[in-house]
Amino acid sequence: MTTADPPFDALTSVTGALVDANDRLLELITLTGTASTSLDEGELLDTLIEPTIALLHLDGCRLSAKIERTWGTPPTVDLESTAHQWKSNRNVADESIEMVVWRTADPFGTADAKLLEAIANLAGNAIGMARMHAEGLAQAAIGQEHAAAAKLASAALPDPLIPPTVPHATIWAAARPARTTGGDLFVWAELDNQLWFAVGDVSGKGLPAAVLMTVCTTSIETAIQRHGEQGPVAVLDSVTRSTHRRLSDAGMFLTIALGRFCPTTRTVEMANHGHSPIVFRQAHEVRRISATAPPIGVLVDARAELESFVVQPHDLLVIATDGLTEQIDAAGNLFGESHFDALVASLELSDADHVGTSILATVDTHRGTTAQSDDQTLMVIGFHCERTRPLLIDATNQGVRALGPWLSEHLAILANGRFESRLGEIELAVHEIAMNIVDHALADAPSSRFALTLTVDDDELVAEFRDRGSAFGVAPSRPDPEHPQVGGYGLMIVEQLASRIERSRIDDLNISRLWFSSQGSIPAASGRKEAHDA
């Protein structure tokens, strides 16, 4: 008869327990590793619960959250309140999650409970992570929809690169949407040789503001066409009639400044329903054009008063939305209304696009790395003397030949003979810049065209080219008469004929400007020859 050997049994039992514990540990390590490789809630729980069932020899497991899932086999007898069932409750992302496991073979011990507690935690974290991931995806989809909506809304606005042209005024505008869609708008049009312009801001943010912005933009454009003859107040009356109910029902409103410029009388007429800031600059003195009626959408019978003023060359009219004046810096300081007025007063510029880009650049400097907090829309109208309509030039050697006759004809009309003695020199300089555009900016686009306009301001002529070619810069060469080079003389010639040359690029638009003085004619050829001989 064999008797039991208590020490050996104990050793076997301890060894078995150690091996068992080690196996569990290894499986637990595997379990935690696999659980983190997926972001799908179903997959994540499968990879967690299925090994758990194997690890703890469970009959089954049930997780109850928004939906209930069961793994393994359901209990055949009632195990409620017995040591054969273990239950845990926790809250994850405001959601109650219950985990129940059961095992008929053995009751759950303290070690099992600790392990199950850890697995329940893992399950809760897995569900939380999966929910956050799903929510992130949904947010991204909403973000994409908003971006698409913003793009659609901005399509309702005019192309900032194609402003209308009228004599004595140049208009420039830019609309910079914030991260989410907003309600800023601008409108411009030439009607019966008059320049119409408007800047507005539909209250609120997001899709509702963007949708109402497109409605308002269409209404303004239609009203200008239908009621323009009766002036700005009548146009805004019409806009009020067609948009008040929709704005009011949505609990929103539209601030808008609308005006027209008549080149014949050099008069600006404006109507302002609650819009700010509008700054008029004359001789570096600025004044605000104030609102005379509440925003559209507040009172159905509100009517603005007409503000009328005569403009002089170099005057500026700047209309913005509050996204510019209310832009904050890193410390939370607003750009500010008075800062905006002081900036407009101080700019040593009167070209609309230069003023506009300078204002935006100054606001951007103030903003620094802080996000743009709201839509920002800016419109600048620069007033000047006579200006031609653009000459569109084919980007070919032959196309540039249209310059000579056009310059001759338009300078005679524009400047009343003041530049007659310099016509040949002006043509040469302007021709050289045109050839630079053909040879460099538009070298890859020979079927495209570019534009030339002339502005005469007192005794100064400005020739302005606009092209949508590549950015280019050509440095003037300094030829050595002893060893003359074959080419590269163009800019050297222009530098001596023009009193000033300037190049800039706004978005995809190259702007090249040449200034000529009527008094600056170079000496006669023979005179220069004598100077060289001397």
Partner: protein
């Protein structure tokens, strides 16, 4: 631009240009002057420019190219009676110091 070729009695030839000498005309000018410059019997080419009413940097570059080619072969080109637009561009580029310029006798 109109280009008229003249053959002189000695070792020189002549071109008479009139009208506009710009980038659009450089190929025609080159096609006319290059055979003269390549001819062994021609040492000098006189380019009369009294009736050139416009010349740009491309036309000017073509004159410089021709002048360099002629001098490399031991010859020269002579700009004869340049009009005011031609004189202006030559002087602006200081190339009046590089070319042989002659006036009507």
């Amino acid at each position: 631009m109109n280009i008229e070729t003249q053959h002189h009695d000695n070792d020189s030839a002549g071109l008479v240009l009139s009208g506009r000498f710009d980038a659009f005309e450089t190929d025609a000018f080159r096609a006319t002057i290059d055979p003269l410059l390549a001819s062994e019997s021609t040492a000098k080419v006189r380019v009369t420019m009294a009736d050139v009413n416009f010349i740009d940097s491309s036309g000017l570059a073509e004159l410089v190219r021709s002048m360099k080619r002629a001098r490399e072969a031991g010859g020269d080109i002579e700009l004869h009676n340049p009009s005011d637009p031609v004189r202006v561009i030559l002087e602006l580029t200081r190339l009046d110091l590089a070319f042989t310029i002659t006036s009507a006798e």
